[in-house]
Amino acid sequence: MIWNPLAECQSLKDRQRLQSDRLGTLVDRVYRRVPFYRQKMDALGIKPSDIQSIADIAKLPFTSKDELRQTYPYGLLACRREELVEIHTSSGTTGTPVVGAYTAADIELWSEVMGRTLTMAGCKKGDTVQNAYGYGLFTGGLGVHYGARKIGANVIPISSGNTRRQLAIMKDFGTTLLACTPSYALYMAESAREEGFDLKDFPLKAGCFGAEPWSSGMRSQIEASLGISAHDIYGLTEIIGPGVSAECSCKEGLHVNEDVFYPEIIDPLTGQPLPDGQKGELVITSLTREGSPLIRYRTRDITYLIRETCSCGRTTVRMHRLLGRTDDLLIIRGVNVFPSQIEHVLTRIEGTQPHYQIVVDRGATYLDEIEVHVEVEEAIFSDVTGTLEKLKKTIHDELKSELGLSALIKLVEPKAIQRSEGKAKRIIDKRTL
């Protein structure tokens, strides 16, 4: 089933006309209302009248995450404050949080695109959606919630965590669709087995999984152990939250809701647009947002676009499952961490620049696990085991309180950490994407 055939199966010509109209209106509005955009366009000598069609989008300047931080909290607001009905922010672990500001129309838009997303996974009125994404500032929880309400499904707002309870609710209420991170889905299946039942015996039929990168191998594992159809969903707080793109039953790329979120792929180094099929950085323009619309926002996510019409009947462009990042951001259990932040914490604890290595793996529990290996130099070495154990605990606790990350700390001998060309290899990511 297709939630909104008018939008999702529109002819390319009609869609381009719609995108062109919307881009024109958007540029006109932000030029008048947001000094940040006006200054950037003036600097390039671009006037709203220069934007006549969607093809003109390449004339517009990019917006970066750093600029969002510089304008925190309300600098990019394109509506009046009293029009806002909801605020979300990113976790802020990588610096000042970025803000999503929603008007009533923005929430309606979010409900609409999440309705499309859930429908792509086979969800409809009569289904019971167990929403195990965290409710709160994080967009996952409310995004799925609004989508489920939109299509008239029954939503259980259980939020994240408490696996035993998740399983009891799933069993007692006959959940048919599960929404959570892919690693948590596998963890639930494993926990169910330990409790002596098999999720394949449950009425569960599908799942919407996102908020962290995953592989096709992991999909097979999820589908086999839960007995469901597993769908990748993508989104980001800056644009709307989940609902930017999602997989239909064909699972050959994620359909981008391009009538409202216009995607481009660029060369991350030169900023030049790349042709369809070529890998590069995903850039998104939120064409119809009122609260915090973004023009050519650089997501730092790497993917490519697939333009051919999908056999599901939707004509929207698809993006390949995420292939990486343009920066060294690590996403661990939904927490965003840069290695430099871990280094900062270590430096502060020991008063010296330590040699360290970060190892990320998806362990036996299927959840992302992070190990931080710290070389024991003379400055921190003690002949008493208790002192070293205490150091391990301090590092663990500091990382936990600073970054919200529970890492396994391992003390290693000096030079145990592989150095390449004099520079230590800091990150080993063993997760297969």
């Binding site: 024991v376 130099e377 003379e378 070495f381 003690s382 002949d383 008493v384 085991t385 208790g386 070293l388 154990e389 391992k410 003390l411 290693v412 001998e413 000096p414 030079k415 145990a416």
Partner: protein
């Protein structure tokens, strides 16, 4: 008197001890006492050798994390109840012992107990007062 103990940091991997002892053997260094403290993923090798300065230089030179620590070596008679008497002294004086290990001294038929304590001077004074001999090497 003070003994200079050398300790090194070690990951718990097979063959690590064999390598280290072979290194000492090659340099003609004699181990007088040795102990290992181990945890789930690392260990600390502590040793008293006949040439502490050379030992330290050798181990550091081969890339290990090594340090020198002042410990106390007490001679006690090699028969039942002797260690208990020394321990009672530390207890009565309120001195906490971080760790200890022992070695036998054949020439004198004595045992040497190596103590690591926070209060080195106080411990030395207490032991001398109680009639014990502390050694700087053995």
């Amino acid at each position: 008197m003070i003994i200079k103990q050398i300790s090194i940091f070690m990951e718990n991997t097979t063959g690590r001890l064999a390598e280290t002892t072979a290194l000492l053997a090659g340099a003609g260094i004699n181990l007088r006492a040795i102990s290992i403290a181990d945890t789930a993923d690392f260990g600390i090798l502590r040793m008293v050798t006949d040439k502490p300065d050379e030992t330290l230089a050798l181990l550091r030179g081969s890339g290990m994390t090594a340090r020198e620590t002042d410990v106390i070596g007490v001679e006690v008679q090699d028969h039942p109840g002797e260690l208990a008497r020394v321990m009672a002294l530390f207890r009565d004086e309120g001195i906490n012992i971080e760790y200890l290990y022992a070695s036998l001294e054949r020439k004198k038929e004595m045992a040497v107990i190596i103590f690591k304590v926070a209060l080195v001077e106080k411990s030395l004074e207490m032991l001398t007062r109680s009639g014990y001999t502390t050694v700087s090497s053995f």
